[in-house]
């Protein structure tokens, strides 16, 4: 194995070096902010949490893997070159290992080394105005490991003598699927496990292909299983892609549908608005009075120009702030998109729950702020001196009159703080009653008052930093659970009234039936009104059913329509015909493919089940995996015969005897002359 290892290194080190230089240049240009990177990627700090940077790394890893895997194998797949490679006193497995280990070294130089250097640079204090945590390297490491999946996939592609337009590229599709899964994973452990599984499956498949490029049946069982999984994943990608294309096409033809929604305007009136596409058709308030449009065109602009600033506090499950996936920046810290005027950047770090500042010129850490105040960099803050947001973090820029810089609302147990970063001050703005628990907070968006709302379970505190007053209102609830609310402060009233529009505990007010309550500035209820829920027609795609019937596995379609009844119901004769046609096509295709491959009855049953449970993907898998060289037409009777058996099962045995005639010469070697007699 060692000679192969060194030979591979010797053969390809230049390629890896060239790759290293190219990738290092990419990393360098990114970190130095060289112009060609799109501006929206250039957040204030070029650190590892930038998704674009992670994508760059993942793409580099994939390309390096693809090129290396292909280069190491493809030039040697020519028949005689392959024979020269494999006909040696070395087992195929050792040969494969030698190549793969060398490939690993080359890949490390190409993809990992530049990244590691970049990480080292980023981690060095004074280079990047952002914190550095070890957990930040996990996405990069996992993506680099995933590049190995592409390495093996490319190897398989090079080894397997299949059709390019057929299943030859499917392993690459399988790794793309894996990469997609990795990009959506939320925990590092989950992603690492997924990556490990993917790389292992593809690695085993590559090993099996190395063992036996052509005859699947003679590969080790584990490798065969991995091969089936790989091709199935690839086939699934193709089917999904096809379905998506069909859906997009069907959507193109969809007519614009109308929908109705509620909107609160700045004068506190709730309007019911009907739109179609980008056209606003009409708007009525709850008493049926229409909105006084002044023109025919530009209605949307006119109507939406003056919305009421409101705070949204929703308790529905979908709005719960998800913990940021391990790739996302908000898993590590939360920041405001623009720096303050003093050339500083302030962020809230999740690791220690303090507000940290960085100087943008020196890129150094300034210090951090906790509830007890500012601690300069280098000094260790007290252990308990941190905020406790319970996921309720609100970090917004306010631009409030009279309060330069930005402020934030930071809940901490039963207190709410505001941080003024320029002066490094912390101010407690609210202390809750002992029986209240801090549920959620929300800034009033769309206004300049810097107001925010705190929901404490039984009460709603509306706090404006401008005048320091605290308006407390009862929190609407249904049973024991508080309702989701939208709180607004309208301007048109001389005194400015406060509007609380509430829905249900699990549904925001604009999606459910609710109540609209008007309060005056002192907290007295002025009016209360019930708001009915709007039912919009469901947005099903015009051909959604047809596409589903054709692409989903027949068993699922059948079961869904028998048990569910609603979506895929067979009352429609057209749908039923389509389903039967699809099923017939699938079965015929399966039968023809199996017939040609000469499979035994047990295998046939397995494949029919696969097609019933896998649908089109099952047929694709069969296409890719079948052995189409197993049968051939018999020269005598013309029917397909299994080549493995000595005689054609359809012909009489005598027809198979090969013709011998009198011109054949078979004789054995006579004894060699005795060489001992002649020296």
């Amino acid at each position: 194995m060692k000679p192969i290892f060194w030979k591979e290194l010797q053969q390809w080190w230049k390629l890896a070096l060239g790759g290293f230089l190219a990738v290092a240049a990419l990393h360098y240009s990114f970190l130095k902010g060289i112009a060609f990177w799109p501006a929206n990627i250039l957040y204030q700090s070029r650190d590892l949490t930038i998704l674009g940077y992670q994508i760059l790394n993942a793409v580099v890893a994939a390309i390096a893997g693809l090129v290396l895997g292909f280069a190491q194998v493809y030039p040697e797949t020519h028949r005689d070159q392959w024979a020269f490679l494999v006909f040696r006193p070395l087992s195929r497995t050792h040969l494969f290992l030698g190549k793969t280990l060398a490939g690993l070294v080359l890949y490390t130089v190409w993809a990992f080394l530049p990244w590691a250097l970049a990480v080292g640079w980023i981690a060095w204090p004074g280079h990047v105005p952002a914190p550095f945590e070890i957990a930040m390297v996990y996405p990069g490491l996992i993506d680099l490991a995933a590049g190995l999946a592409f390495y093996f996939a490319s190897m398989i592609m090079a080894l397997r003598p299949a059709r390019w337009l057929g299943s030859r590229t499917w392993p690459i599709l399988a790794s793309l699927l894996g990469a997609l899964i990795l990009s959506q994973a939320t925990t590092a452990i989950g992603a690492a496990i997924a990556c490990l599984i993917g790389v292992t499956v593809l690695g085993l498949t590559a090993w099996g292909c190395f063992h036996q490029p052509e005859d699947i049946g003679r590969r080790p069982a584990v490798a065969r299983l991995a091969f089936v999984l790989t091709l199935s994943a690839g086939g699934m990608v193709i089917v999904t892609f096809g379905v998506i294309c069909l859906q997009i096409l069907s959507q193109v033809s969809r007519p614009e549908s109308e929908w109705t929604s509620y909107t609160l305007r700045n004068d506190g009136t709730l309007y019911k608005v009907r739109q179609s596409g980008s056209q606003l058709i009409e708007a009525h308030d709850l008493d049926g009075r229409p909105f006084p449009f002044t023109s025919k065109d530009g209605r949307i602009g006119e109507f939406y120009s003056d919305m009421m600033p409101s705070a949204h506090i929703y308790f529905d499950p979908s709005s719960a702030r998800q913990p940021g996936g391990f790739r996302r920046r908000d898993h590590f810290y939360v920041e405001v998109p623009r720096p303050n005027e003093f050339g500083e950047r302030w962020i809230y770090r999740m690791s220690d729950h303090r507000v940290h500042g960085y100087d943008l010129t020196s890129k150094r850490h300034i210090g951090s702020i906790g509830p007890k105040g500012f601690t300069a960099s280098g000094t260790e803050p007290a252990a308990a001196d941190h905020f406790d947001t319970k996921g309720n973090l609100v970090l917004e820029e306010s631009g409030m009159r009279g309060y330069p810089g930005w402020m934030s609302v930071l809940p901490s147990s039963n207190q709410v703080f505001s941080v003024f970063v320029e002066s490094r001050e912390v101010r407690r703005v609210l202390t809750l009653d002992p029986d209240a628990s801090l549920l959620k907070t929300s800034l009033l968006t769309g206004d300049q008052t810097g107001s925010f709302v705190v929901h404490t379970g039984k009460r709603i505190h509306i706090r404006s930093l401008g005048n320091g007053d605290d308006l407390v209102l009862p929190a609407p609830s249904t049973g024991n659970k508080p309702d989701s609310i939208q709180v607004g402060i309208s301007k048109d009233d001389v005194n400015g009234s406060v509007i609380v529009w509430s829905g249900t505990p699990t549904s925001p007010p604009d999606l459910s039936a609710g109540t609209l309550r008007h309060y005056d500035r002192l907290g007295n209820l002025i009016s209360s009104r019930h708001v009915a829920k709007i039912e919009n027609p469901s947005q099903s795609e015009p051909f959604g059913r047809q596409i589903a019937v054709c692409s989903l596995p027949p068993i699922i379609v059948f079961a869904a329509s028998v048990f569910e009844g609603s979506y895929l119901a067979f009352e429609n004769p057209a749908i039923t015909t389509l389903f039967c046609l699809t099923l017939a096509l699938l079965l015929v295709a399966t039968h023809r493919l199996l017939h040609q491959s000469g499979a035994c009855s047990r295998e046939r049953l397995g494949w029919f089940l696969t097609v019933l449970f896998g649908g089109v993907a099952g047929v694709l898998a069969l296409l890719a995996l079948r052995d189409d060289t197993a049968t051939a037409p018999c020269p005598h009777c013309g029917k397909l015969r299994l080549l493995k058996s000595p005689a054609c099962s359809h012909c009489a045995p005598s027809a198979n005897a090969s013709q011998r005639n009198a011109t054949e010469i078979f004789a054995d070697l006579q004894s060699l002359p005795d060489l001992k007699a002649c020296p």
Binding site: K2, P3, K7, Q10, Q11, H78, R79, D80, Q81, W82, A83, F84, V86, F87, R88, P89, L90, S91, E214, D215, R218, T629, T631, A632, P633, L643, K644, S645, P646, S658, N661, A662, T663, E664, I665, F666, A667, D668, L669, Q670, L672
Partner: protein
């Protein structure tokens, strides 16, 4: 499986795209012999060789090297077999010397003197890059790489392909060098019959995927004969006589090429009452061409009428 047979096949068959390229091959190659594997292009020789080496799976049947099935060859067994590919493949990006160094690491029994002497024979410089070598030079390198481990069995697929006469002579000499030790066996496929004449003990001929000859070279030469048969009048069609390969008629005589065993053909010819039957001496190439050419009664190629 006879232990004395270095190579043995049993009904070895291979199909490609539904077409049979090797049909029920039964072959035995005894130890120590030089076995010439002959046949027209596309008759299945390369496929057979690949199956013998375990590089290609047979559709049916089996083959064995040193008594072990070809699909189960262990690395230790492969160490005893040298394979020279048709295109004389080596590591093209390495130099001559690097190729030798690389190859030598796999074989503990690498003989540097043999390697060097073949290189010298073909006048190869150690620093020359393999991709810059001419076909003949590369063949010399490939030959050196396969011969240096002194394999017990040497399998060569059309080794003289693309070689000039000088290189071919060097190749033949190298082959004969191997045979100096009596336990070494060579199986080689070729079209160059003068080389076969020089070196082969045994030959086998594949005719369109079917094995039709497997015998010592001398037996083949003895049995394939040509007779000039003179008739008083118009000569009859003699191509249907059993054993006749070809016949070609002109005004009063017929040239009959046949496979003779125990005088049966000449007896059959006498029954047509010819004026005379004269044996025409055949060289090996002529005999071979007649054996594999079109059977039956043939007019002269591109005749005037």
């Amino acid at each position: 499986m006879n232990a004395d047979h270095v190579i043995e096949t049993q009904d070895l068959t291979r199909y490609y795209n539904g077409k049979c390229v090797v049909d029920s091959l039964n072959l035995q190659v005894p130890r120590g012999c030089v076995f010439g594997f002959l046949g027209r292009n596309g008759s299945g020789k390369t496929t057979t060789i690949r199956m013998l080496l375990g590089l290609v799976q047979p559709t049916r049947g089996s083959s064995a090297l040193f008594g072990t099935d070809s699909t189960q060859l262990t690395p230790a067994l492969r160490a005893r077999v040298g394979y020279l590919t048709e295109e004389h493949r080596v590591n093209m990006w390495m130099t001559v010397q690097e190729n030798g160094h690389f190859q030598s690491q796999f074989y503990p029994q690498w003989n540097v003197k043999v390697f060097q002497s073949i290189l010298d024979h073909f006048r190869l410089k150690p620093d020359a890059k393999a991709k810059d070598l001419s076909r003949g030079e590369r063949a010399g390198l490939a030959l050196a790489l396969t011969l240096a481990p002194e394999p017990e069995l040497m399998i060569m697929d059309d080794p003289a392909l693309g070689l000039d006469p000088v290189a071919r002579r060097a190749l033949v000499e190298s082959m004969l060098y191997i045979t100096r030790r009596q336990d070494r066996t060579i199986l080689f496929s070729t079209h160059i019959l003068s080389d076969v004449e020089r070196v082969a003990d045994h030959i086998a001929i594949l005719d369109q995927s079917v094995l039709r000859v497997r015998c010592p070279l001398e037996v083949f030469r003895e049995r394939v004969r040509r007779y000039l048969v003179r008739f008083p009048g118009t000569p009859p069609d003699l191509s249907t006589v059993p054993g006749v390969l070809q016949s070609s008629r002109s005004n009063q005589d017929v040239r009959v090429t046949c496979v003779e065993k125990d005088q049966s053909v000449i007896q059959a010819l006498r029954s047509y009452h010819p004026t005379s039957i004269e044996e025409v001496q055949l060289g090996l190439e002529e005999a071979f061409i007649s054996y594999l050419g079109d059977r039956g009664d043939r007019p002269a190629f591109l005749s005037d009428n």
